[in-house]
Symmetry: C2
Subunit: 202 residues, 2 copies
Amino acid sequence: MARWEPGAPQRLQQAALELFATRGFEQTTAMEIAQSAGLTERTFFRHFSDKREVLFHGQRVLVEAFVAGVESAPPDASPIDIVASALRSAASFFPDERRSHSRARQSVIDQNSALQEREQHKLAGLATAVADALRARGVDDLAAALAAESGITVFALAFAQWIREHEQRSLDEIAAEVLGELVTLTGKATAHRATSAERTDG
Amino acid sequence: MARWEPGAPQRLQQAALELFATRGFEQTTAMEIAQSAGLTERTFFRHFSDKREVLFHGQRVLVEAFVAGVESAPPDASPIDIVASALRSAASFFPDERRSHSRARQSVIDQNSALQEREQHKLAGLATAVADALRARGVDDLAAALAAESGITVFALAFAQWIREHEQRSLDEIAAEVLGELVTLTGKATAHRATSAERTDG
């Protein structure tokens, strides 16, 4: 009987990332990950339903961080300011000491299209959770969806920048800049075209 | 030898949607789709690599519509106005007579998580193509990515509204409104927080 291992998920994640990086995701089995971590296959499956889930284990905590950020924003905050609060909360989940882990994880995902689809699905799930939390604060449907999707876009782009080689800034700092860039960008729309009759092309 | 069938892809798509809707995506085979369309399985596989692709066949044309809209925007257009042009171009790909087809397709996708992942992957590919087209116009990396992702978000939300029951407005009209809402929303950001030192919470 394998006894409960403190830190087993972290050890399995670390071992999995190393094996995925050196021999490839497809070529690595759950058994090999467990052995490499000095654990049993049974322990592996107590923590993860399959080897793919090792890569997506942080999802629930990340969703919670986003939602906590939505909930803790001041009562009179606009939807976009609530999203800024959610981004700060999510960024605190990725301190700089996690950067190399995140970088290794991403490079595994980048090499496998099924994992990329999974990643996009997880991001979509994140957007849904944030939109739901915004609606729970009384933000209307469309604004909630737009603000949530924008927040996830900012997060994903900031995250990609954060794990780039030689990047030194914190995720929080990068996310704030990317959000600022989005605000600047959309501020340059020439018209809110209400009806096509009002439109003048060119 | 099956001869070439004009309109075969459309007939196969129509037959597939009907079968997916009545007996479920998983329970339908390529052979059954072909038979239902009065075609051979061989003809099916000349047009589609598998039954899943029947649902995603329009992707290439949609990408082209988006990119054409980016390219045809005036030379001095801002990134967000270029995206507005891309949305108008993409919307023209979905005239009202296509609405019931799009609605049927979406209800098949909504019932299958693997198809949802595929759909999200396709939307991500669309964003990448739009971002590339923006970069080709000289828009910088981050602005191109943000504008493209925002455009796809607006498109996806407008599309979901367009296929809602009793919705009468055109996709073009809805997309313009959703984009206007995004502009309004981001305009309510209280600060472009440049550094955390400058930030005042609350």
